[in-house]
Each structure stands twice: as C-alpha cells, then as structure tokens.
C-alpha cells in the first residue's frame, strides 16, 4: 500500500489530553505551551518518530537544497511549527482568538455572491483548519470532506465550534456516499472543501512537477470541479506570529478549452501543486506531510 494511503494525518493524543490542553489554554494562553512543546515534545518526536523525521529532513535537503546542518535545524523548526499549529487549534477550540490577514479575498467574495457552487482545495501546509471553516457564510453552506478516522475529541470540538454555522462535515465512507453528498452540495450552489494533497477514497492520482521533483496528487477534487464546471479556489493558512495567520486565497484556472475533462482535471491539479510550491518557498517549514511525498524519495 502506498504511504499516501497509510498516513492519514489524524490528530494525535488521547481524549483526556485534548481536554486537558483546552483547560490550560483557557487559563494561561499558548506561549508557555509553545515553550514546553519546543523543549520537550518536538525533539522527542524527532527522536522517536524516525520515519517522519527522515521524510522532513529529505524535504529540506532534496527539495530546498539546504545544507546538512540547515536541513537538520529546519527539521526541528518544522516539528516545532507543527506543534504550534496543533496547539493553536486547541487554543481556538478553547475560545482563544487569532487574527487572519486575507490576501485575495475579493475573488472569494465574488464567488460567494454567485448562485453556483465552488470547490475549495485545502492542504497539509500551514493551518487550514484554524481558518478554513470561517469561509462559510449565510449565502452558502460549507461542506468539508474529512478523514473518517479523526480523533473523537477533535470531531466533537469541530462539531461544537461549528454548530449553528452553515458548516457540515462529510466523512469519507466505504459506501461512497460522500461522493453523492459532495456532488449534491455543488449542484445546490454550496461550497465543497477537499484536501488536495492527500490520496484517500480513490487511489487515482496525477503525477505533478513539484518542488524539483515528481509527486502524486489526488485527482478527485479537480475531477469533481471539472465535471460540474465549478470554480476552484486554493487556500493556504500560514502562521505568521503567535496569534496571527496570513490566508492566501488563489483561484485555479479550470476553463481551458479544447481538452477533455480528464486532461483538464490533470492541469488543474498541476496548477494547485504550483500554487502550493510558491507558498512553500515563502514558508518552507510549514510543510506537514510526514511521509516521503515525492516519487522515488524513499529509495
């Protein structure tokens, strides 16, 4: 089985740990927790999760062409940053507020005003979860495709935070009912949000040029958009400071004439990979796919 399918990326830790974290955030904020995480947790993950550590080290060495020591340092920074975004999520669950600077929001607002539905493609770069759900509006329901095996506390808190909003989670199911739900949502003029860098559900993929190599991206999100002639927006939520995120909102071109739908879906997938690459060049340490992402990288 390819590692894409093995590594589901669900949030680690047990239910009581998650609840304890939220209690702490309500009392003391995120900074002391960042310090504890940076000194103890991030290094221990690097020491004991060797496969993940190596994949990130390879990412800096081979994709960013960093030196050995710089790659090692950035691997630590990457683990620290990942710890921060997980802590931020629970701080958000506990009621802490973060600032979001939106770049490219005008186009998103235009699409919100139209009757047609559209697709938002998320990724495991930055911290989409902390801001992604704020894109729901009174005008359109927001339907997020999620991995069905996410931790109970995370799902409970998502549901609590989102209750009353125009937001619905669609877990991937073996009976493929999620496909019907997403299709119906777009037909009803709503938003569908799908991760664009994780192959799950269908094993079909497009091999894209990405960060000086070839990597596999799921073809499903773009196939859905192309089949329904829907617009596609890529959103990257990048951590800038303790309580600040910058949100990059970029439209992908889906309207190429003279090529069949499969080819169009492939090209939109490549456009997504290229947008992700440009964001990663600015925020190299905010790459959170902890497996060998590139073809032949594990050899």
């Amino acid at each position: 089985m390819p590692e894409h399918e093995e590594w589901r990326g669900s949030t680690g830790g047990s239910t009581w740990m998650h609840k304890g974290l939220m209690w702490i955030f309500r009392c003391i904020g995120v900074r002391p927790m960042y310090a504890v995480m940076g000194i103890f947790v991030a290094p221990s993950y690097m020491l004991f999760n060797h496969k993940a550590y190596l994949s990130i080290y390879h990412y800096f060495r081979r994709r960013h062409k960093y030196s050995v020591w710089k790659s090692f340092w950035y691997t630590y920074l990457n683990h620290y940053r990942f710890g921060q975004i997980i802590l931020d999520r629970f701080a958000n669950y506990s009621g802490r507020k973060f600032d979001f600077e939106l770049i490219g929001n005008d186009r998103l607002m235009e699409l919100m005003d139209r009757p047609e539905g559209f697709v938002i493609v998320s990724s495991h770069v930055g911290n989409y979860e902390i801001a992604g759900y704020t894109f729901a509006s009174e005008k359109k329901k927001y339907n997020a495709l999620v991995f069905g095996g996410e931790a109970k506390t995370v799902m409970e808190n998502r549901n609590r935070l989102l209750s009353g909003n125009n937001i619905r989670m669609i877990p991937v199911r073996d009976d493929m009912s999620h496909i019907f739900e997403m299709n119906n949502a777009l037909a009803d003029g709503d938003i569908v949000s799908i991760p664009g860098d994780r192959i799950f559900g269908s094993p079909k993929y497009a091999t894209c040029d990405f960060m000086n190599g070839k990597a596999r991206f799921p073809i499903g999100p773009m196939t859905l958009a192309v089949q329904r002639d829907s617009k596609v927006i890529a959103i990257f939520v990048m951590k800038e400071a303790t309580y600040k995120y910058k949100v990059y909102i970029r439209e992908l071109n889906t309207s190429e004439e003279g090529i069949n739908r499969k080819e169009r879906a492939m090209r939109v997938t490549q456009a997504f990979a290229s947008e992700m690459e440009s964001v990663l060049k600015e925020y190299p340490e905010q790459w959170f796919n902890y497996y060998e992402f590139w073809d032949g990288a594990g050899e």
């Binding site: 009976d175 119906n184 269908s202 499903g220």
Partner: protein
C-alpha cells in the same frame, strides 16, 4: 429494457474512457465496483454526472447510491423508474 441496458453500457464505457472494452464485456449483473468492473469513487462521480446529463436524474439520497450503482441492471431499473428525459 434491453435497449436501456445496452445504452447504459455504452455510456459507462464513454464516461469512464474504457477504450479497450465493448458493451459485451460488461455483464448485466456483474458488480461495477470492487470486484467485477473494479470501479472506484471517482468513477462513481463520473456515473453520477452521466446520469444527470443523459437522464435528468439527480440522486438525492447519498446512502442509496451504492445500491443504484451495484450493476448495470440496477442502474437500468433506477433510470427506468426515475428518468425525466
């Protein structure tokens, strides 16, 4: 019904770009997903859109999808009962 089954097979081949297959290669009762034709969720999406375009059918109950797309015969029965064009 036979004509509808044959049309569906042709449309499945076209929608899924199964260039090396003919309608005769698809058995009426063979499972479309998993074993049988071996289709997956992206193929299901192609079939959902094909049903909308060709027959004006929108499947509103997501949990019914698996039964409808069980085989060409089950698709044909559903189309016969629900088509609007």
């Amino acid at each position: 019904m036979e004509e509808l089954v044959l049309n569906l097979k042709k449309q499945i081949i076209e929608a899924l770009n199964l260039a090396d297959m003919t309608p005769e290669d698809i058995e009426d009762d063979a499972p479309l997903f998993g074993e049988g034709l071996g289709l997956d969720s992206i193929d299901a999406l192609e079939l959902i859109v094909m049903m909308e375009r060709e027959y004006g059918i929108r499947i509103k109950d997501p949990s019914a999808g698996k039964e409808i797309f069980k085989s060409v015969n089950t698709m044909a029965e559903f189309v016969k009962a629900n088509r609007t064009k």
